[in-house]
Every structure is written in C-alpha cells, then in structure tokens.
Amino acid sequence: MERFVVIGLGRFGQSVAINLAKLGKSVVAIDKDPQKVEEIADFVFQAAACDATDEKNLRDLGLRNADFGIVSVGEDISSSIMITLTLKEMGIKKIISKALTQLQGKVLIKVGADRVIYPERDMGERLAKRLASPQLFDLIELTSSHGIIELLAPESFIGKRLDKLDLRKKYGVTVIAVKRNIPELKENGSTSFKENMILSPGPDFEVLLGDIMVILGKSDNLEKIRKVK
C-alpha cells in the first residue's frame, strides 16, 4: 500500500490527511502542536507531535520508505524549505509542498519538491471562474490548449439527442459523460435524488433539464460552447 506522510496539520494539511485515509491510504500525520495531532489521531494510521525540521525525528518515525510527502506547514516558509529538503534527502519518492507565492514555489522546487501547490491562489482562481460563469461547474486543464469542462446543459440542448446536436461538427468538442440526478422517493415519503454518471453517451442520448455535460475539447472550442444559451 502507498504510504503518505503529511507534515503540517492546519486546515489544508488536516483535510489532505483525513481524505487520504478515507481513500484507504496509510497516512502518517505530523505537527508540532500536540492538540492538532490529537484531533487527527483517530482518522489516520499514525499521528505524531514533533518538530519535523529535525531529520532525526522523521527517521525515528520510520518515514524513509514513504511514497509521498506532503509539506503543508503554512506560512512558515523556512520550515517548509527545511522539511522539503529533509524529505528529499531521506529518499521520499514524491514530495508535494504548499506555497503561498510563486517565489516560495521556486525555492521549494530548487530544494527538491516534485510539485508545488498554491491552494489559496487555486481556490481564488476557481471561485472567480465559477462566479464569472455560473453555468460552468468545473474545469480541468489537460494541456495549455486542451481541457475538460463540466457545463450545465444549455436551454437550447434540452430535449435534443446528441446526434441532432452534433457538437463535434459544430463546436469540435466531445461529450465524454453526463451527470444526471435521478429523482427518488424516500421511505418517509419525502423527495430526494441520487447522482448518476452516464459514461460516453451514445448518439441517441437525450439531454434533459439539469444535466451536467462533461465535455472534452480545445480550450477555444470549449469557450465557444460555454457561451451557448
């Protein structure tokens, strides 16, 4: 099983650690603050309160064979650099470090981070995109020129079959999946729904009100289809 070590248990680190554990991964969670360690102890394989900038502490925890190291010590950039460097020297296979600014990110890459993440910047970007186009639910950039968007089915698509819409010809994009909520009645008589994912919908697939279409294509084509009403 892949082993993860998460260092720094602020809100971000805590969320990463708990979610990895929920996904069945072996997680060691570390923070200087014993209270934070206590809060997470029931969720993860091992939780330890220690100073992670001291290599000896990390070695004592037997972390040499960990596959992933996630460094999320918050605003203390010098600790972040020290820990990233230490994990690299210990031979951790992949190190992901959190940064607040691009300059910090560059330094972290230099000392051995395999990937730098900017949670605050990314969240800000995501929120801005979502607010700017409410019908756009999500966006994944595959390359600088291609991506996948989740788009709420435009009104003009509703009740039409995919072969009639012919999105590949008209917009140069492909519908790879559709998320559709299926209504249901609960035992107590109240209404509810469950999420359903239809993968590679066929030509006779009919788009319904509320469908979220997962669409793959070139960024400029995705931009065009995003504007369809």
Binding site: S190, T191, F193, L209, G210, I212
Partner: protein, 90 residues
C-alpha cells in the same frame, strides 16, 4: 385554512411529486408553486421545490427554498443539510 384547501394542497403536492419522479421538472414545479400560492408556509411544498431545483442544478433557487424552509422550521435537519452541501460546493 378550510378543509377544501387542505385536500387541494394534498392533491397538488402528490401531483408535484409524481411529475418530479418522472423527471418532468417544470410540470412538478407548476403544481408545487400553486401550493405556495394557497399556503406560503407549506414546508413540504417548499422543501420539495428546493429538491427539484437542486436536482436540476439550479442551486441558487434551491438555496432560496431550503432557506425558506429553515426560516419556518429552524430544526428542519434535511433542509439545513442541503444548504450546507450546496454552499460548501459553490
């Protein structure tokens, strides 16, 4: 409210749920909004309208109706859960 109104409301809610279950969302909303005209505080209708809007991903409208439910019944756990899950993902 008269007994007649109560019967009408019950029937309208049943119709609304029937159309919702058959994925006829606009028809379902028509019936339930008629209920709200007769009885603006009908929790079952308000909650069901919230569910319909959420299921068709009209999340702003869904929030509006779940909040109306909570305004009338501050302990309506299901409506509170829906408000939480919608706002968390927005």
């Amino acid at each position: 409210m008269k007994d007649n109104d109560n019967n009408t409301i019950k029937e309208l809610i049943e119709e609304g749920k029937f159309y919702f279950l058959n994925q006829k969302y606009n028809e379902a909303l028509d019936y339930l909004l008629k209920v709200i005209k007769i009885d603006p505080n009908n929790i079952e209708a308000l909650y069901t309208i919230g569910i319909i809007y959420e299921s068709i991903n009209n999340l702003d409208k869904a929030l509006e109706y779940f909040k109306r439910v909570v305004k009338i019944d501050s302990n309506h756990e299901e409506a509170i859960l829906h408000i939480h899950s919608i706002t968390e993902n927005q």
